[in-house]
Symmetry: C2
Subunit: 305 residues, 2 copies
């Protein structure tokens, strides 16, 4: 990997060097490095582009890193990664994609990540998207995540996209079995003329299942964001969705949540708020000696932290 790729890797996976545990690093459409452990296997798919990540039942305190970097302008790829997580696991999975585009053609990474999670497991899943490069070609990422969460399992999902992605269409779908729990935290910032569309669909199928979807976003300049979130309560369950958006400059944000109670014991709540940074917050920080721009930056950083 060259310096540009190493920088992308650091941004999307926090990696300065090869990580401990299992990993698969993909650069410009090819696997460039891989490690497996006694409990975690990674197998290249033979029918299409992508890998199977197989985590044995009972695997605990282990991690898998599968970052993707693209630095060749004009590269377009569609990758399918399937995660099979056995019963009684406690694992951290770090994915993410960094694109550096210094050319005139669009670079694009589409990824479908499917999770098949057994019973009584805890999966922490972190996904970051990042773009750099001064070329006129677009940096496009369309991540799709589908989760089947087994009985009494818990998935925490953190997605972050705060810089440099010109266009993104994100979909996250989840089906929850009895007692399963899903917490999603999404952080999104768009600037320039970027567009971002985020869509969630959560089916609370199991008794005592619960989901909490939290989205925080900042739209600057002329950027445009649309947030969709569907929660279906099909059993005794709890669902909560929250979308807080800050608009700046000439940006636009839409929030379109949808909650449907199909069961007497479904409890569903949605909240959304869109607005600019409160003037008194800025003034307060300016009285402490910050410029208006510094005050805004500090508030935005705090909001997305």
């Amino acid at each position: 990997m060259d310096e540009i790729q190493k920088n992308l890797l650091e941004q999307v996976a926090g990696l300065h060097e090869m990580p401990a545990g299992a990993y698969n690093i993909r650069a410009d459409g090819k696997s460039v490095d891989r490690a497996t452990t006694a409990h975690i296997d990674i197998v290249t798919k033979t029918d299409k582009s992508g890998i199977d990540i197989i985590i044995k039942p009972g695997t605990r305190k282990e991690s898998v890193h599968i970052p993707v970097v693209l630095s060749q302008s004009g590269l377009t790829e569609m990758v399918y990664n399937d995660f099979y997580v056995g019963d009684d696991c406690d694992v951290t999975i770090v994915a993410g994609c960094g694109i550096h585009n210094s050319g005139d053609s669009d670079s694009r990474h589409d990824g479908l990540h499917s999770f098949y999670i057994g019973k009584n497991s805890h999966v922490k899943y972190v996904e970051k998207h990042y773009g750099t490069g001064g070329g006129r070609g677009g940096r496009i990422m369309n991540p799709e995540t589908k989760v089947e969460l087994g009985e009494n399992s818990f998935m925490e999902m953190e997605t972050v996209q705060i810089k440099g992605v010109d266009s993104t269409k994100r979909f996250t779908g989840a089906k929850l079995a009895d007692g399963a729990r899903l917490v999603v935290t999404e952080k999104l910032m768009t600037h320039g003329s970027q567009t971002a569309e985020t869509s969630f669909q959560v089916d609370l199928e199991g008794a005592e299942s619960s989901a909490n979807i939290i989205s925080r976003s900042v739209a600057r300049d002329d950027s445009r964001q649309i947030f969709y979130s569907k929660i279906n309560g099909n059993n005794r369950c709890k669902g909560h969705s929250e979308c807080d958006g800050i608009i700046m400059d000439s940006a636009k944000i839409s929030a379109v949540p949808e909650i449907t109670a199909n069961h007497l014991d479904a409890e569903l709540i949605h909240e959304a708020a869109i607005g600019k940074i409160a003037g008194d917050q800025i003034i307060k920080l300016m009285t402490l000696g910050l410029t208006e721009a510094e005050a805004e930056a500090q508030i935005v950083n705090g909001f997305l932290k």
Copy 2:
């Protein structure tokens, strides 16, 4: 009017006798009584079914009642009523529709009410929908309301549909000029196998315009409700939408709000909550001597009051 029609009239317009002020009473597709005042004129449309209600500038503390009753089974009507409210008015408008259907054919009333409201006016608009009759024919009402609200005018709209309407598709649209304010309170109860769809679209076009849409609904038995609410903030404005739904028995409720900030100074908030009556509320009332059914009825009445 016969006894059935008089009962419908009382339910939808709270009228025991002819009201004071201007009124137009429509029964089974025909105007049966009308009164105008020095400031309020009512004119039958010549090109289609319906009336024009013309309220002169400066009209204050006056009211208009325009209830509709249908007791002939199988009657279907589409009525267009246009309200022209001048500047500096303060008026109350009571509309509503009652259907009694004892036959096997569907009875249906579709109404489009358009409001053209001038500057600095206050309009209180009350609309009730009610159905009775043991026939197998459906009682169907599809009210549509479109409002253009002039500078610094204020419209309060209360809609109630709590009994006997088998199917309803409701649409309320409003465009607000500078300083205009809209408050909508909707109360809805469905039972049996009824379906209700409610849809709002509010365009906050004017500087300092504001809208508050509050919907409270109860769905019983096998009934199904869908609530849509779109608020577009196109200027310095405030928008708030709130949907609280109680589900009982095997009922289903969906809430699909949509808020879009197209302007830096738009502040938009949406809240929705769907669930059944909290068990501890029922237990508390039962310890005071009520049966479970009485406790439920009391909570539902309080919620829709």
